[in-house]
Symmetry: C2
Subunit: 239 residues, 2 copies
Amino acid sequence: MSTYELYYWPSIQGRGEFIRLAFEDAGAAYVDVARGPDGIKLMQSMMQSGDSLRPFAPPFVKTKELILAQVANILNFLGLRLGLVSSDEEGRARALQLQLTIADFLSEIHDTHHPVSNAMYYEEQVEAAKKRSEQFVRLRMPKFLSYFEGALSQQASGSYLLGSQCSYVDLSLFQTLAGLEYAFPKAFDSLRGSIPRSLEVAERVKARPGIAAYLGSSRRLPFNQHDLFRHYPELDLNQ
Amino acid sequence: MSTYELYYWPSIQGRGEFIRLAFEDAGAAYVDVARGPDGIKLMQSMMQSGDSLRPFAPPFVKTKELILAQVANILNFLGLRLGLVSSDEEGRARALQLQLTIADFLSEIHDTHHPVSNAMYYEEQVEAAKKRSEQFVRLRMPKFLSYFEGALSQQASGSYLLGSQCSYVDLSLFQTLAGLEYAFPKAFDSLRGSIPRSLEVAERVKARPGIAAYLGSSRRLPFNQHDLFRHYPELDLNQ
């Protein structure tokens, strides 16, 4: 069994976490390269290498055959090998559709604290951040959450997003809900009652052996204020 | 040959255009449903239908087997059937990686004029839009453009992004460059000299029979100020 190499910033969960969860759930052999000695340097040198399709940004994964970037692309490719998606073309397309909708959600979540530019500090864009977050918690967060709840409501009770088998999308939904609960605790609390199926899936994901072991280990980094999900009370629901 | 049904807003190019270009280039039989009678109503009713995986937003495509949403997912699925991507798993992953990087670029382009919320008018967020655009034209637009130029520089002269065959990603690169030229003419002009290979690919895409016929037809909508790409002179490079 070959060992996968994951390249991602070593001190945050960020977008790399969606890949870590897939590896951990599947019990795959992987190295989180940038958390090792000289890891960030190694990661950066691979981003500048001229002899293959470079990643635009971390995370990326090196397999025996190629270097893969973009979370949804990595999961679409590895999902098959890790047993985290059905193998037919239609099933894979449904999973990818949901994963890309999660990616859109994450992008909007990120931009609540960085609506102007990633190259500027939060403090330099806090006024725009407040305006964006107000719209986010009032309109976008409920819309995205009810979308996933709706997808679950089309499945039999006790199922996952794509049927009876857990897929990489369920792992990503768990992570998204955990992040929202950390970043927007009041807004999240106010919506809890409307997403029972999603919360139940998150609980089941958390209890899966690979995930439970991972969450209890030092490999799982805590949420923090340099991450994708950030808790700024002034951006949370205020009423 | 079955006819594909495309569902997208009928008065803009937007994200639907990336699908239209693939259909047009391949000469595929498709109906742009929302441009027909009662089309928007039809589109909206399909988004509320409870019996399959709903799209979160247009565009989406109905094939014989399923309803597909998310541009990159649609192109990944249809690319194979339309002959717009190589059929091996590695080649498809490379294409999807590039397409998702274009999707990230488009999302940042959109947010230059809507940094706070899609539910508010441009005029209500023009101050944040100016700040975001300044960062966009100075940092992000050059970074994304040089990424695609770099991917092309790894190919032999006269090739496309993924080799000698034109793929759906090349069509999307053409559309992105056309949109940037419309929206940010000064910034685009200032970067022209640094992206010769990308401009050459765009010219070759434009000259492909299916694309040339499409661009000359009434099916190609003009760029306009309700679209993804918008030309606000105050957001363009100002020096």
